[in-house]
């Protein structure tokens, strides 16, 4: 894949680099304020939110418990409507299937609708390797492609870029000179670039927000209309989708549609919700001649049996990252994998390994806001803590943390020795008091005092003063 290295192992370095970019913070502050504000407003008019998320979690849990049944039902219904269903266990298998379909048609170019699953399986790189021109049609993905970067958000891939940066990028890369830096002008410029490519594409590739088992339908939820152009104009439509996107019926999908638009962008509904049912039928005026649906597992069925199961409920709305204090200062790139923020911190270790993505479940304050806003009630912070517990058991916790916790636990279990230690700590820390009555530099706590003063402790511990009768 193009762009900077994508590995969760480099989290610390990437986070430091992100913090050193003031422009990124400008973009993050604008986006966070907008997204939080809009969600707050729309939720104020949605009193059934709690009931809906209860229902949504139950629907997902039920579907996941019976995934084999619903996957088979979906495949039969989709094939009955003329689509071809493929099963891919690994990312390699999935991309190979897509490339083979393209090659069989002699395809030279493919338009693509934003799909995080496509990113997850490395589809952009696979298409490049096969010599197939890839045209990203989502406005933000178009920006990412021009800038040769990676998405930093699962709903708004170019969230890390300011409008000003996008204007400069379009000026440098688009054929038409810029009319102005206004959003409308930027959109118009992108439209001018993309329209001819929609018509010329040999294949259109999309993801899916939901798969409806009963009808074999593939549903996409978008705002730009690019999904419709991408899938209807070329003679071949390929869907790559994770198996966890299944829901039993249309009625069940409706519960999620209401939750998804509100949670993602704070709107009651998106501009477009499209249900695809097979290729063009006899008598249809348009639509693709072929439709392929590639159902991707990539460790999802492994997650079914373990303590990561609830993560499979995720509908990729991005609310967790929009409300995450860590994401709000470092953005999405440092998380390394395809998925950033709290849901990425849980999912990426499951898709890679706890060794490689060891920082992700730890780089979290456990403040719980992500699981509070999650529309399918994924206990994200509890799951991150559970991963820390697994790291501890498997000896993956950093030596310094292990020793600190062991020393603390040894003291905390022995109140008498603990009293002596706390008294000594008070005396010791007070030796570092600065003239403002606080500690400006404390050995072993340099991380803290690098950017903050430390409160002056004491003057004596509460326990010793209480014992001496002070009230």
């Amino acid at each position: 894949m193009s762009g900077p290295a994508a590995t969760p192992a480099a989290f610390r370095e990437q986070a430091a680099a992100a913090l050193a970019r003031p422009q990124l913070k400008v973009a993050l502050d604008r986006a966070t304020a907008l997204l939080q504000g809009r969600r707050r407003e729309v939720m104020a008019d949605y009193p059934e939110f709690q009931a809906a998320r209860d229902a949504a979690a139950r629907i997902k849990d039920h579907t996941l418990e019976n995934l084999d049944h619903y996957a088979a039902e979906f495949a039969a219904a989709a094939e009955a409507s003329g689509a071809k269903v493929h099963w891919a266990e690994t990312p390699e298998e999935a991309t190979r299937i897509v490339v083979e379909i393209c090659k069989a048609r002699g395809a030279k170019s493919a338009t693509r609708v934003k799909s995080m699953l496509g990113e997850e399986i490395g589809l952009p790189a696979a298409l490049a390797a096969a010599g197939i021109e890839r045209v990203e049609t989502d406005l933000a993905e178009h920006i990412i492609q021009l800038a040769d970067e990676r998405p930093s958000h699962i709903v708004i891939p170019a969230l890390h870029k300011t409008q000003e940066e996008v204007a400069d990028l379009f000026q440098a890369k688009h054929a038409r000179p810029r009319a102005s830096d206004e959003v409308e002008a930027l959109v118009e410029s992108a439209r001018h670039e993309l329209r001819p490519k929609y018509v010329a594409a040999d294949v259109g590739i999309s993801g899916a927000n939901f798969l409806i088992a009963e009808t074999g339908s593939v549903a996409t939820v978008t705002n730009e209309g690019n999904a419709e152009l991408t899938t209807a104009l070329p003679p071949c439509h390929i869907v790559t989708v994770g198996v966890e996107k299944l829901v039993p019926t249309m009625e069940h999908a409706a519960v999620f549609l209401r939750l998804l638009a509100r949670s993602a962008l704070g709107s009651e509904f998106t501009q477009y919700v499209t249900f695809f049912n097979g290729p063009k039928r006899a008598g249809d005026r348009d639509g693709p001649e072929e439709m392929h649906i590639v159902l991707v597992d990539n460790r999802r069925t492994d997650m079914l049996g373990g303590d990561m199961r609830e993560m499979l409920r995720c509908i990729r709305c991005g609310a967790c990252m929009n409300h995450c204090p860590v994401y709000s200062v470092i953005g999405g790139h440092p998380y390394g994998g395809t998925y950033p923020g709290p849901m990425g911190s849980v999912l990426t270790p499951a898709l890679t390994s706890l060794e490689e993505a060891g920082d992700l479940p730890n780089a979290c304050t456990l403040n719980g806001r992500c699981q509070e806003v999650c529309p399918v009630k994924i206990p994200l912070t509890d799951m991150m803590r559970a991963m820390r517990e697994r790291q501890w058991r498997q000896g993956l916790t950093k030596a310094r943390s292990r020793w600190a916790i062991r020393a603390w636990a040894a003291l905390a279990r022995r109140p008498l020795i603990y009293r002596l230690a706390t008294r000594a700590a008070v005396i010791g820390m007070r030796r570092f008091l600065a003239s403002n009555g606080r500690i400006r530099n404390l050995p072993l706590a340099g991380g803290w005092t690098a950017s903050r003063d430390m409160t002056a402790p004491g003057p004596r511990t509460f326990m010793s003063e209480w014992k001496r009768g002070r009230r």
Binding site: P325, T365, R413, R452, D453, F462, M463
Partner: protein
């Protein structure tokens, strides 16, 4: 409730014990003023949360056992911290999974454990009388108290009873301050960036006092405000309610 005054065990919290004894003295005074008898069990150290959050469940469990034994004999357990009270009330159960005897004890303790403002307001129906503080203040909702225990209305209702105190809303009052326990030393630059945002929001209120219900968050925000040279004094909500606001604060 028996006719006698209830016996309340004060869970001092490790941070108040070492870093800000004034908070624990204020909590003790408030519990007494609310009509209860205060006890400070000798065997207490910490609730076990540092171990729990690090994934060291065995260590956390060993400490949780001692907390349960030391505090179970009292009518109530009250902590001037939503974080420690939340640990006891909502997380201890995970440490004793599959052990019915311990689970029963843990449940009993969880049911009688309260965060200070919820105890004063919700259990004792107390409100401050004759406390005055001529100041403008803003209030930060600490995450554990807010999301694990629902502490939100109680501190505000109690603070409304202080004469002369004007409470100004803090933009993003439900956003984490970046403390996160060990997080702030494991990822100090990320934590520092988060608390920088918080300090900016606090300054924007124009308040001269910042109040909150958890010392960890308060030390984090106070440390940043102090480093930035912002003259906002930081106090625990207990210190304000007990009329014990003095000096430069936390």
């Amino acid at each position: 409730m028996p006719d006698r005054k209830p016996d309340v065990a004060l869970f001092v919290t490790c941070l108040a014990d070492v870093m800000r004894p004034n908070v624990a003295f204020a909590a003790a005074r408030l519990i007494e003023a609310a009509g209860a008898v205060v006890h400070v069990p000798d065997a207490q150290t910490c609730c076990g949360q540092p171990g729990f959050n690090a994934g060291a469940d065995a260590a956390a469990r060993a400490i949780a056992e001692r907390v349960i034994e030391a505090f179970l004999p009292y009518d109530y357990v009250v902590a001037p911290s939503g974080s420690c009270a939340g640990m006891i009330k909502t997380h201890y159960a995970a440490l004793f999974a599959g052990e019915p005897d311990w689970l029963l004890k843990q449940e009993e303790l969880a049911a009688k454990t309260f965060e200070l403002t919820q105890f004063l307001h919700g259990v004792m129906n107390w409100r401050p009388e004759g406390v005055s503080l001529k100041a403008t203040a803003t209030y930060h909702d600490s995450c554990s108290g807010l999301r694990e225990l629902g502490v939100k209305a109680e501190p505000r209702a109690l603070l409304a009873g202080i004469d002369g105190l004007e409470l100004r809303p803090l933009a993003g009052e439900e956003a984490c301050c970046g403390f996160g326990g060990a997080f702030c030393v494991k990822y100090p630059d990320i934590s520092g960036a988060i608390v920088a945002d918080k300090a900016r929001a606090i300054r924007a209120t124009g308040a001269d006092i910042l109040l909150a219900g958890d010392l960890g968050c308060l030390m984090n925000m106070a440390g940043k405000l102090s480093r930035d040279g912002t003259p906002v004094r930081c106090f625990h909500v207990a210190e304000a309610l007990a009329g014990m606001i003095e000096g430069d604060g936390i």
